[in-house]
């Protein structure tokens, strides 16, 4: 069937199973938007307030559903506004396809109006990108983009389509949804070596990251931990893969990780790394990281093996298949001494937490906010965050009951990610969605409230408002002699009125009771709600491993340093 390039784009998206796209129209994507209008009964377009919001929404959509997120923007500033969102997806290995328009081929390279070399700009922050110069290549390019985005280690792909290619016509023949490219299988020798390492270990620690979480391996890892009497810890990106109610699961380790999880990793003699990349925030000082342990790493990305940490044995292969083969072939065993050791660490963590809670006399301490959210949130709630102290408190305190329920910018640490991502996650999952944010992060992209209101997307925004850039302030307190350079916001924004001005519901909470009541109201509001949640400006995220330090330097109580 003969079609225009713009119609081919939209039809190929539909063919590839895309039901929702996020974007913003403009001069060089008018034809694509015309095609979206034509096929609006088959594909839903969510108009955001800013292209950055569209990129984060596509990202949040993907994180919550596992599907490829799609965003569309016009040339020039539209395309550059996607850049932060694409980089965010790249660092967290989120499958995304970004489509941009560009000036017609005849105007390329002439500094035309709203012309920018977006393929050049996004080369280092995409898995791959394309400039499509012929309409005949368009459909196959989009299919290849989907294949690249979701295969192996997932990531974002950008397709730049000049306007004349959108207008030109070509034959379009629908094709099947592209499958993930198969990954190499581990050899029997590799599996045998992994089993040998595990059976020789006295203190095994299963360490799961975004790779394992993305494959939904949580339940299998728990079953394996029970079989071999091991404990499980995770990276930031591994959160929500395993329910925090699981007694084998110690939670996140690393810079702001749980005490027991970080300590157990230190005391382990074998770390089985499943889809982790040993980020600096997870390892601390690599020279001092896991000195007592052997490391067995399984990852589909060969470049991750020995990149940041030298491992004892690395297997570059299909993670799910490799793990399943190891897990089924390993003999069941007990390790009572290790269990005793870890249970003691868990006990110590409880004491540390109880002591911190006892000392905190604030009317609304951060942990109390999460106690209330955890108790009241419906099953399957997605929790999205922005970046900063509130994000780390979420990682520490929030409870997750199923995979893909934690949506947060880990690798890039993108302030302003949250609201767009929460909108995308809600659209994709149709689950109750809570955004935990701070007044700093929220300020960066709060205009997406307009999107939530327009589409009546029921996102509950818990705005942990302390009037400061809390995480930077914490570092200034600890390492910069309390010189609070440019971290006191001293803004006069009334977030309740602001929410109301956007057409959302605005509530304010200053105590546990007020927050509980506001959260109850928000859950049944059936539309966007902002809860301006006032917390103290000097709350800390603890534990903390100081930058450049190791687990030996862990700070567990505020008084030690402040």
């Amino acid at each position: 069937m003969k079609m225009t390039g713009a119609e081919i784009i939209v039809n190929t998206l539909i063919e590839q199973g895309v039901t929702d796209v996020f974007g913003y129209p403009g001069g060089q994507v008018l034809n694509i938007y015309d095609a979206l209008y034509k096929y609006q009964d088959k594909i839903n377009h969510v108009l955001t307030a800013h292209e950055q919001g569209a990129s984060h929404a596509a990202d949040g959509y993907s994180r919550a559903t596992g599907k490829v997120g799609v965003c569309i923007a016009t040339s020039g500033p539209g395309a550059t506004n996607l850049v932060t969102g694409i980089a965010t997806a790249m660092l967290d290995s989120v499958p995304m396809v970004a489509i941009t328009g560009n000036v017609p081929c005849s105007l390329i390279g002439k500094d035309s109006f709203q012309e920018v070399d977006i393929t050049g700009i996004t080369m280092p922050i995409t898995k791959h990108n394309y400039f499509v110069s012929s309409v005949d290549d368009l459909a196959d390019t989009i299919r290849e983009a989907f294949s690249i985005a979701k295969s192996g280690r997932p990531g974002p792909v950008l397709i730049d389509v000049p306007k004349d290619v959108q207008i030109a016509t070509a034959e379009y023949v629908p094709q099947a949804v592209v499958e993930k490219a198969p990954l190499p299988k581990a050899s029997d020798e590799e599996i045998a070596e992994a089993i040998r390492m595990i059976s020789e270990a006295k203190r095994p620690y299963l360490y799961i990251g975004g790779g394992a979480a993305g494959l939904g391996m949580g339940a299998d890892v728990v079953a394996f931990a029970e079989k071999i009497d091991a404990y499980i810890g995770c990276t930031f990106m591994g959160l929500s893969a395993i329910s925090d109610k699981c007694p084998r699961f110690l939670g996140m380790q690393g810079m702001h990780g749980h005490y027991a999880s970080s300590m157990a990793q230190k005391e382990a003699d074998l770390i089985v790394a499943l889809g982790v990349r040993f980020s600096d925030r997870a390892t601390g000082n690599v020279q001092k990281y896991a000195r007592g342990a052997k490391i067995l790493q399984i990852d589909p990305d060969y470049a991750e093996i020995n990149k940041n940490v030298q491992v004892d044995f690395g297997i570059c292969a299909d993670l799910g298949d490799t793990f399943a083969r190891i897990a089924s072939a390993c003999e069941a065993t007990t390790r009572p001494a290790w269990c005793e050791q870890v249970e003691a660490l868990k006990e110590k963590e409880k004491q540390i937490d109880a002591e911190a809670e006892r000392r905190n006399k604030a009317p609304l301490p951060p942990h109390a906010v999460f106690d209330i959210i955890n108790e009241k949130k419906p099953a399957g709630t997605v929790i999205a965050t922005d970046v900063g102290q509130h994000q780390m408190w979420t990682a520490q305190y929030a409870s997750f009951d199923r995979p893909r329920r934690f949506v947060s910018s880990g690798g890039l640490g993108t302030m302003g990610f949250g609201l767009g991502a929460a909108i995308g996650a809600q659209v994709g999952s149709n689950s109750p969605t809570v955004l935990i944010t701070g007044d700093g992060s929220f300020g960066m992209n709060l205009h997406e409230l307009a999107t939530a209101v327009s589409y009546n997307i029921p996102v509950v925004v818990v705005l942990m408002n302390n009037g400061v850039l809390g995480m930077v302030r914490q570092w200034q307190t600890l390492f910069f002699g309390r010189r609070y350079s440019n971290t006191v916001l001293a803004r006069k924004t009334d977030f309740v009125k602001l929410a109301e001005a956007f057409g959302a519901i605005g509530l304010r909470a200053t105590t546990r009771e007020e927050f509980a009541s506001a959260f109850d109201t928000a859950l049944v509001a059936n539309g966007p709600v902002v809860i301006d949640t006032l917390i103290d400006q000097d709350e800390f995220v603890l534990p903390m491993l100081p930058p450049g330090g190791s687990i030996d330097d862990i700070i567990t109580a505020k008084e030690e340093q402040a």
Partner: protein, 164 residues
């Protein structure tokens, strides 16, 4: 620290060289020399990259190159690989040095390709170490200008990059 040569077979498409070099920039890898050119197949180009570093760096470079979508094959060249550099070097031509220069050209199996009263241009190919030695030899005679390619390298025998 060693010198490594990496052969990269890439699709002959718009922007591929940029993708390869931008990966080096992004990862903080330093390229000593790079050559790129056509291959036996019009669909592919071959890039030979020379870099200095330890084995860990080299392993990282190879695996990061593998991840680029347009890269079809990457291989670290072994030490017995045939390596060649081409250099053009312009040396001052003076009565008292002429004989010495010409005898060096003879010994090194180089070629004088331009000759004027004041200067001569010499073409030489060979292993990188041979080229280095020739430059050293020419220095006292007055090197006016020089231009050398990076390394091009092929395996000995029947072995080929794609067939390997």
């Amino acid at each position: 620290m060693n010198t490594f040569h990496i052969a990269v077979y890439v699709e002959n498409k718009y922007g591929v060289l940029t993708r390869v070099t931008s990966m080096f920039t992004r990862r903080g890898f330093n390229i000593d020399a790079l050559t790129v050119g056509e291959t036996e197949s019009p669909a592919y180009s071959r890039i030979t990259i020379t870099l200095t570093g330890d084995a860990h760096l080299c392993e990282q470079v190879v695996s990061q190159l593998h991840k680029l979508h347009n890269v079809k094959k990457v291989e670290m060249m072994e030490s017995e690989t045939i390596k060649r550099v081409l250099m053009l070097i312009k040396v001052r031509n003076a009565a008292d040095t002429r004989a010495d220069i010409l005898s060096a050209v003879e010994v090194y199996r180089a070629k004088v390709i331009d000759y004027t009263a004041d200067a001569m241009c010499i073409e030489i190919t060979g292993e990188p170490t041979k080229i280095d030695a020739f430059i050293k030899l020419m220095m006292p005679f007055g090197v006016l200008e020089m231009c050398r390619t990076g390394v091009v390298a092929l395996d000995r025998g029947e072995k080929t990059l794609l067939g390997h």
